[in-house]
Assembly symmetry: C2
C-alpha cells in the first residue's frame, strides 16, 4: 500500500541534515500542521555496514519526530539496548559505528525493502507511517549519493569514517559528493520546494549536510527561484558550531566560520538568514551580502525553544 | 591474522548439515581430538535476508560445538534475546525467519567480512576461533550454492522459504542445487576427505543437507575413492526422520523412506551404513545394496548418547 499523501497544501519545505534539523522540525510541527511539512533530508551520510543500508540523517529526523529519539545524544533511540553490538564486539567485528538493537531493525527493514526493489523514498514513507510520523520525510534522492572527504595530507574517506570513526578530529582539504551528478531529486522534492510557502534551511552543517542536497541537480536552481521565501537558520553561533565540525570545515575550506561566512555561502539562493542574538553585532555584515537578517534565540535546548525559533522562521518569510 | 591450522593429522572428516550433524560432531569431539576433526558443512541453505548473509548450518554446527546452542531447538543461541525482531515486527518487516540479537551479530560479522572480500571459509574460521571451537569447520564451498525446491503444482522456492516459511508442509517434486556446477570445493575440503582415517556422513537430510555437498564437483568422486572408509549414519529411523522432512522428501522424490532407501542413495560412495536398533530387521536388505550395516542406538538425545554413537561410527571404519 502506498503511503497516504499529505492532505493539506505544503506550507513548509525544510532542507534537513541530522540532529539540528530534527530539532528545527520538532519546532515546526508545533506551529504548522505536520501534514503541511515536507522534510528533504540529506543522504550523503548514508553508508552500508554489515551489509545493512544505514541512513543516519533520515533516521534522526524520523526518530525525533516520532518522539522516540535518545534525548541525550539527539540521535538513536531512547531506552535502546545493545545486545547485537555487544556480541559483535566479542566476535571482533566492526563496532566503531554503534547500532542499537531497535535501531538495527530499521536498517534491516530498509535493506530488505531496497533489496526487493523499493526506492528509498518509498521505504522512508513506510517507516514514517510505522512510526506514526505525519511530516512527509523525503530523502533528497533515491540514487546513491556519498559525501567523501579528502583529509589534509591523508586519504579520501567516506563521511562516517570521518565523522564517527575519526571523530571529525582531522583536517579536511576538499569535500565532494559522489554520485550527485547522476542523481535526480526523489519524487516530490522539487514540487515541495516549488509549492511551499516557506523553504526552511535547517541549522545543519552547510558543507556536509546542506551541501549534498544542493549538489543534486535541480535543487539549487529551484531554491534560487524561490529565494525570497527561503529562510536559512545559521548553524554557526558566535563563531562555533552548536554541534559537530561545521565551524572547522568552513574554515578548512577557506570560508569564515561565522554568520557572515554562512550568509556568503547561502546568498545565491537564500533571501533571509536567521542568526542568534550572540551574533547581533554582525547584522550589517550579513545584510551586506544581500541577505536579510533576523535575530533571535537559535539554540534549541528544549522543544519550547524549538517552537519559538520555528515561529520566527515561518514568520520571517511572510 | 589467519586462523591457526590444526596441529594433528586429520582423523575424521564429517559431511554435515544442521542439527543432526551438530549432535554427531558433539559426540565425535568426545572420542577424537577436536583438532583432528574437519566438518564439511552444507551451504545450500544459506540465504540473504535484510541484506545479511545467513549460513544456518554453519552456525548450528558452530554454536553446538561452542556449547552455546539453544538446547531446546538445537539451533540458535541459548539465552537469546529478540529485541531486533520485536522492533522489526512493529515496523511490519519480514520476521518469519527469526533471528536472535546475538545470532544477528554473527550474520553482521559474516556479511561485513564477505563484503570486504574475505572468502566464506576464512570468515568461518574467524568465527570458530572467536567461539573457541577447535574442530575445523569448513563450508563445502566459498561459491554461492543454493538449494531450490520445485513445489508440487507450485512455484520453485528457495530452501528457507520451504523449510521455515512454509514449515516444509508442502510436497516437493524436484530439488536442484543452483550454482553447484560452477562451484569448487573450499580450500581444505578435498584434502580433508582424502587424508582422514574415517569419513563420517552425519545423520543429516540426504536430499537437502548431504545432497548439496555431493553436488559440488569433485566431492562424490573423492568419496567414492574412499568408499571403504566412508561411514554414513542413517537419518531415517523406523521409516521416519528424527527431525525435519527427510522422510517425506525421499518419498516425494521416489525413494523409499527407510534405511534401505538411504543405503541405496548412498551406496556408490559409502561402504558402511550405521542404522538404529529399531531397523535391525532390515540389515540383510541394507547389505543387499552392497553396503555393510552396523546396528546401534542412533538417536542422540544427550551428549553421552552422541559420544556412544561416535565411538561406534569411528570404530566401524577401523
Amino acid at each position: 500500500m502506498p503511503p497516504s499523501l499529505p492532505t493539506a497544501p505544503p506550507v513548509v519545505a525544510a532542507l534537513a541534515g541530522g540532529v539540528g534539523a530534527a530539532r528545527m522540525l520538532q519546532g515546526l510541527v508545533q506551529v504548522v500542521p505536520a501534514a503541511g511539512i515536507t522534510a528533504i533530508v540529506n543522504t550523503g551520510d548514508d553508508t552500508v555496514l554489515h551489509g545493512l543500508h544505514i541512513s543516519p540523517d533520515l533516521d534522526t529526523v524520523l526518530y525525533t519526530l516520532a518522539g522516540a529519539v535518545n534525548p541525550e545524544t539527539g540521535w538513536g533511540l531512547a531506552g535502546e539496548t545493545w545486545h547485537v553490538m555487544e556480541a559483535l564486539e566479542r566476535l571482533g567485528g566492526a563496532t566503531w559505528f554503534r547500532l542499537g538493537d531497535r535501531d538495527l531493525a530499521t536498517h534491516c527493514y530498509r535493506t530488505q525493502r531496497l533489496g526487493e526493489g523499493a526506492p528509498l523514498h518509498q521505504v522512508t514513507a513506510e517507516l514514517a507511517r510505522s512510526w506514526g510520523v505525519g511530516v512527509r520525510i523525503l530523502p533528497v534522492t533515491d540514487a546513491p549519493l556519498r559525501t567523501r572527504l579528502q583529509l589534509l595530507g591523508g586519504p579520501e574517506v567516506a563521511f562516517q569514517e570521518y565523522f564517527v570513526r575519526l571523530r571529525h578530529e582531522v583536517a579536511v582539504s576538499e569535500v565532494r559528493f559522489e554520485g550527485a551528478g547522476e542523481a535526480t531529486p526523489a519524487p516530490g522534492v522539487l514540487a515541495a520546494l516549488e509549492e511551499a510557502a516557506v523553504v526552511v534551511v535547517c541549522p545543519s552543517n552547510p558543507v556536509v549536510s546542506i551541501g549534498p542536497l544542493l549538489a543534486v541537480p535541480g535543487l539549487a536552481d529551484c531554491l534560487a527561484r524561490r529565494r525570497d521565501d527561503v529562510v536559512a537558520v545559521s548553524p554557526i553561533v558566535a563563531g562555533s558550531a552548536i554541534k559537530g565540525p561545521a565551524d572547522r570545515l568552513l574554515s578548512e575550506l577557506g570560508h569564515e566560520p561565522s554568520v557572515v561566512g554562512v550568509a556568503r555561502w547561502y546568498a545565491r539562493w537564500a533571501g533571509t538568514l536567521v542568526i542568534d542574538r550572540a551574533d547581533a553585532a554582525r547584522v550589517a555584515e550579513v545584510e551586506a551580502e544581500g541577505v536579510r537578517c533576523v535575530v533571535t534565540d537559535t539554540v534549541m535546548g528544549t522543544p519550547g525553544r524549538s517552537a519559538a525559533l520555528a515561529r520566527v522562521v515561518v514568520d520571517a518569510a511572510r
